[in-house]
Symmetry: C2
DNA sequence: CGTTCAATTGATCAGCGTCAAACTAGGTGG
DNA sequence: CCACCTAGTTTGACGCTGATCAATTGAACG
């Protein structure tokens, strides 16, 4: 059984917002919250989807392997679900997941998700909305990847974080640079060089602190595009 | 009003399979079927989603632009929907679409899709299933792109087509090579060279006919992965 | 038979990954 | 408190994959 404030946290998720109270309680009864250390693999691609996962605290990396290569597909931050599609289709995971830091994960048995779905139209609507949002998120990620160079992806990432953090010329990288590199689809070495390339555009890096001297110049290089960068669209 | 066999065609779509007959009729009443010549742009990214599109005949390319670059995101073949997520979220399109050949497209006003969704739980289930499938399709595409070289993507594409077309050592390319190149995320020049590098693996190309002399050798190079290549997963 | 566009081939170039080494920072134990 | 160790970061050199540019061949169609 979950603590009340954890339940409230889950309730605050869009996914559970419109659902019947009784059904929500049912889900919370069978759900459990677990704290994992960093670098723990939570799920493995190819295995049957047994739980819907929700990151409550910390952060999670979704990644995939084939041959002997590995690539990171996305980072998941609180509070959001991951691998919803596999749970809904009662299929195997297409991605693996590991914690990046100490993280609290809410686990809801897939079976219960599906059975509540059967009888709660409000939940259906929320799932549709969540899925559609995730889908559009992946499309945006793919556009970012295919239409931009590494330097441009970094520039746009910095501008997005800058806006989220108040837009006062300062921003903090909340993740290690090597993780950021993976997130941006490049190697740590190339990320480092990309920061170098951005220096003439008013980007000064000091550890995890970044100063944007001239956001205008940076934007001129980044050419941000709402259809890729706007999280609300 | 649609012809009866067009309605049956639409009815055969998983998306409409589980829905109430009356609601289906409602949708078909407001839907209309239109035939487009090749190279007609059907939708443009950034514009509000006004119709759910269903390719009934022909084929459609989904593509996206940013800065002065363009990339193709997916090809859509009969019978399937596209841009469902934008319709459901009542949002703007994230991709543009154009016909590749003479195509018949079924158009259903977005508003009607959303209103039927409000009152038909069976439709909800189908939408969830369709969306989840689309989502997983994009994930697979992204894995294909990030975990494989161009030659490997081509090799796996050939193996998939080979299996679909009977697996008797023969297959036909149903799309122009330059379209195939775009679909595989490479330039036509590189596709041509990729076919060249596959020659030692028993791939003989003659126009749109391809012979696989030794599917075993090809598979050894391609290292197909069900979590990327299996359409049923 | 000529026009047009796709496909191929070659040469060159840019972006990015890999490898190796130096440097830095954060945490631990003496 | 400092020395040390480990892991992250940076820098440089190099090479590979795939894009670009240019020219040629080939095929389809009026």
């Amino acid at each position: 059984m979950l603590r009340i404030d954890d339940q409230n946290l889950a309730r605050s998720l869009r996914l559970f917002a419109g659902m019947d109270d009784g059904n929500f309680d049912d889900l919370m009864r069978v759900a459990y919250l677990q704290t994992f250390p960093p670098q723990i693999q939570l799920i493995t691609e190819g295995e049957p989807a047994d739980f819907l996962h929700i990151v409550v605290e910390g952060s999670v990396e979704l990644f995939a392997r084939s041959n002997d290569r590995e690539t990171t597909m996305a980072l998941v931050h609180p509070v959001s679900t991951f691998i919803l599609a596999a749970v809904l289709k009662d299929a195997v995971y297409l991605m693996s997941a590991r914690t990046l830091e100490k993280s609290r994960i809410l686990l809801i048995p897939a079976e219960n998700i599906r059975s509540v779905m059967e009888r709660d139209p409000g939940f259906d609507k929320a799932i549709i909305s969540e899925l559609a949002t995730c889908y559009r998120g992946v499309i945006k990620a793919q556009k970012d990847l295919k239409l931009r160079s590494g330097v441009e992806r970094l520039a746009n990432y910095l501008l997005r974080q800058h806006a989220r953090q108040g837009g006062n010329g300062q921003l903090k990288l909340h993740i290690e640079k090597r993780i950021l590199a993976a997130r941006l689809g490049m190697t740590p070495e190339n990320l480092s060089r990309a920061f170098g390339t951005l220096k003439p555009y008013g980007v000064a890096v000091n550890g995890s602190n970044v100063q944007l001297t001239s956001p205008t110049d940076l934007a001129a290089l980044a050419k941000p595009n709402p259809l890729i960068d706007d999280p609300a669209i």
